[in-house]
């Protein structure tokens, strides 16, 4: 009971900070709020008993990716984004309308389409490192190796793009 209450509190915090990421005018504040969102998501993973991914979320997203973002933001030294001109407001209204339709569709399909989502799952032995490691190195060995090639390609691409003249 306490855990489900904690889930709802953390979800509210996640939604609020994600909204602030999008609506904030200052890029540095957005990056810091995005780190906060990732910490909240990590707590949600803990509540869903995915312990390994909770640690990974903090290490990779909050630790590596957001630091890279903050470096780039500090490098650019851009000021606050100015307010959009009035011409955009029609497009803004249309995109907001489409967004609401999208979210309503997701919610309706979730609530109506599948009825037996309330049944409790069995005991969870899936979140620990052993289970994920076994799946990763037996069933998903080939995608794992492809991921390493992907990282190598990203490394080479980044080094090429960081050249003085491009």
């Amino acid at each position: 009971m306490t855990l489900s209450l904690l889930f709802y509190i953390i979800s509210t915090l996640t939604i609020g900070s994600a909204l602030l990421v999008v609506l904030n005018r200052n890029a540095v504040y957005s990056a810091v709020l995005l780190v906060f969102t990732f910490f909240n998501l990590s707590i949600l993973y803990l509540l869903l008993e995915a312990y390994f991914l909770a640690v990974l979320e903090i290490i990779i997203y909050a630790g590596a990716i957001m630091v890279l973002f903050l470096f780039v933001i500090m490098l650019f030294n851009v000021g606050k984004e100015q307010v959009l001109p009035k011409i955009m407001s029609f497009q803004r209204a249309v995109s907001l309308f489409l967004l609401v339709i999208f979210f309503t569709g997701v919610s309706l399909f979730t609530i109506q389409g599948v009825q037996d989502l309330h049944q409790p799952a069995g005991s969870a032995s899936i979140g620990n490192v052993t289970a994920i490691g076994e799946a990763l190195f037996s069933k998903y060995l080939f995608p794992f190796e492809i991921a390493s090639i992907l990282l190598l390609v990203a490394l080479i691409g980044t080094v090429y793009l960081a050249k003085r003249k491009i």
């Binding site: 489900s4 869903l48 803004r92 967004l99 990203a154 691409g157 793009l161």
Partner: protein, 101 residues
């Protein structure tokens, strides 16, 4: 399971919608990139929820691979943004009309 699965999916859909809103509304290319990260995380949350509900480890392996992809994407994307900023001196996507005409 702490909460019913549908609440996790609705939370994930809300986060994804907020990410789409950021991509559509904002003009700063870095904020747009952050919104893409937000969308990837929303999908990860849905995958973890389904994995917990079905008591199946496959979803968590997918999340692991998505995180790898996100790391690769961020490194290349930020390098492209830095090269773009060096050439055009702006991060506003309204002024990036190199391929127009």
């Amino acid at each position: 399971m702490v909460v019913p699965l549908e609440h996790v999916i609705i939370l994930s859909g809300l986060l994804f919608s907020i990410g789409v809103m950021g991509v559509l509304f904002r003009r700063n290319v870095i904020i747009i990139f952050m919104s893409i990260e937000l969308m990837l995380n929303a999908v990860n949350l849905a995958l973890v929820g389904f994995s917990r509900y079905h008591n199946n480890v496959d979803g968590q392996v997918f999340v692991f691979l998505v995180m790898t992809l996100a790391a690769a994407e961020v490194s290349v994307g930020l390098a492209i943004i830095v090269a773009l900023f060096r050439n055009r001196q702006t991060v506003n996507i309204n002024e990036m009309n190199l391929m127009k005409n």
